[in-house]
């Protein structure tokens, strides 16, 4: 009997002869099944651990590169550069998926660079477009009214000073606690707060826009066009058929919402009409509601009312872009830019755009692909971090190339669920439409376009 196969004293089982040939002391290996189990377990866990470790290194690398930017001094009457971030959820999924990308990869870099940011999120289609368009329309109205108004101040003939007819209201309005608290005994009280963005001569270096997701990007572009080329007031429609958005969840995953019908500003409908519309909507909702309880109906009413104000029907459709007039003819003639009235920052049109695709696969049959993507997340992390870093550094800005740049991030659309896209095409929802642009608008736009990835190059 060969001695190599006999187990050592005090142990049971069969000792592997290979171990002796390798020169290792003979110890008992677990059975084949256990070996399989431990191999699979350690391989999968170590893959996850390695991926997380690499992601951590990438994020630390980029935040480290960006930290010196936050060490620069800033005067007390100045506001830092402000970046606007538009976040949309992936189709048929929750906003949380996009927020994870924002929180893990984009936000640390923006935070450590000392740059200020403003977040505009949406749960349903159309909110971003409405926000952008409303903002631009409000700006146009203000600029129009400031051109038209004439300031009339009463003048006292004797003293040649403005006469105040109120009873100390002016004093109350002008009263500032800081004057009586004694804060400004060493420094001068700042006359006004100036934004850094407003004092840069080159408007493409001011601010910035991040669109997280193809849907957000599409809505941003359509919002820009709608706000600039569209009418200032909502077009008055005849009797709106309030078709029910049966598939659209008011909370929960983003479905392809039917925002064409059912949503319009309240003042364009008479009260009777709106009551009739609400009634029919309510009845239909109760009809399709599975539980049909009264409490659920009330909740749904509140939510539809809330939604109605956040998402408006587009004031202008893409086919009408060509016919509309561009509201700022001075932009064409001189090398100027339009600024916000509040803080003299160039409007969103002039601020360069960064588009970050958010790939998100859903489904059962795609599970193998999703597993592979899960183990390769560090590559996506490196991509997103380098793009955000490029935006913070502002060294790779180029003008918008009209037909090609509309397809920025188009690869994300391959991930969109086919049934969702089909539904969207039937309902003609925003995200499934082809993005159309007008050259008069896009010739003033810029893009952050960073090709190389410092982290990969530094290794």
């Amino acid at each position: 009997m060969p001695t190599s196969s006999t187990p050592p004293k005090g142990s049971k089982g069969f000792a592997n002869s290979m171990l002796k040939t390798l020169g290792l002391p003979a110890f008992k290996l677990p059975s084949r099944n256990w070996m399989l189990f431990w191999t699979v377990l350690t391989a999968s866990l170590s893959g996850v651990a390695y991926d997380k470790y690499e992601q951590r290194k990438i994020i630390d690398y980029y935040t480290g590169k960006v930290k010196p930017l936050s060490q620069k001094p800033l005067d007390t009457n100045k506001l830092p550069r402000k970046i606007t971030v538009f976040i949309a959820p992936p189709p048929n999924d929750y906003l949380d998926s996009s927020m994870k990308i924002w929180r893990r990869y984009v936000k640390p870099i923006l935070h450590y660079s000392g740059v200020d940011y403003e977040l505009i999120e949406e749960e349903n289609q159309g909110v971003i477009r409405t926000t952008v368009a409303n903002h631009l329309r409000a700006l146009r109205k203000e600029l129009q009214s400031s051109n038209n108004e004439e300031d009339t101040i009463l003048f006292d003939e004797k003293s040649a000073q403005p006469v105040s007819t109120d009873n100390g209201q002016e004093f109350k309005r002008r009263f500032d606690y800081r004057d009586v608290m004694g804060i400004f005994h060493t420094h001068q009280k700042p006359k006004e707060i100036i934004s850094e963005d407003s004092s840069i001569s080159d408007s493409k270096l001011s601010g910035g826009v991040i669109c997280l997701g193809r849907g957000a990007y599409k809505e941003y572009i359509t919002g820009l066009h709608e706000g600039l080329l569209g009418p200032l007031e909502a077009p008055v429609e005849e009797q709106l058929s309030s078709t029910v958005m049966e598939g659209t969840a008011l909370t929960g995953p983003l479905r392809s919402s039917n925002d064409q019908e059912n949503i319009l500003e309240a003042d364009t409908l008479t009260i009777a009409d709106s009551a009739v519309d609400n009634m029919t909507a309510e009845d239909k909702l109760v009809g399709t509601n599975i539980s049909g309880e009264a409490t659920i109906k009330e909740e749904v009413d509140e939510k539809t009312a809330e939604q109605n104000s956040k998402v408006l029907k587009p004031f202008i459709s893409p086919s009408e872009y060509g016919a509309a007039e561009f509201p700022f003819p001075e932009l064409e003639m001189h090398n100027t830019n339009i600024r916000e009235t509040k803080n003299a920052v160039p409007i969103l049109l002039h601020q360069p755009v960064l588009m970050i695709p958010t790939p998100n696969l859903l489904g059962f049959l795609t599970i193998p692909q999703r597993i592979i993507r899960f183990y390769e997340r560090r590559k996506y992390c490196a991509f997103v971090c380098s793009q955000t870093y490029g935006m913070v550094k502002q060294d790779t800005i180029r003008p918008f190339a009209d037909p090609q740049d509309l397809d920025l991030g188009k690869e994300e659309e391959e991930d969109w669920p086919r049934t969702w896209v089909k539904q969207g095409l039937e309902r003609k929802s925003e995200w499934t439409r082809e993005l159309q642009s007008d050259k008069r608008v896009t010739k003033f736009m810029y893009i952050y376009d960073r090709k190389d990835n410092e982290y990969d190059n530094s290794k």
Partner: protein, 95 residues
Amino acid sequence: MSFFGLGGASQPQLTSEQKVKAAETELDLVTDMFNKLVDNCHKKCISTSYTDGTLTTGESTCLDRCVAKYFETNVKIGENMQKMGQNFSSAGKLP
């Protein structure tokens, strides 16, 4: 931020002496809040290694956010306190 008009509007029967007292109390409150705000945000936002006398961009943004959050917290807690006070007073009135 001027609360000066509020006291007079809600209770028109205040004498001028009472109005002056109300104004003084208000000023005290505001100064108190300001001092606490400066203290807290300084502890949280400004690093202790004083290599430079000017505020950096990161510290500035941190201070802006700190002040905004402080005021929001103040307002929210004030509202909650008001609700609490109403509950107590209504509970007291019930037999």
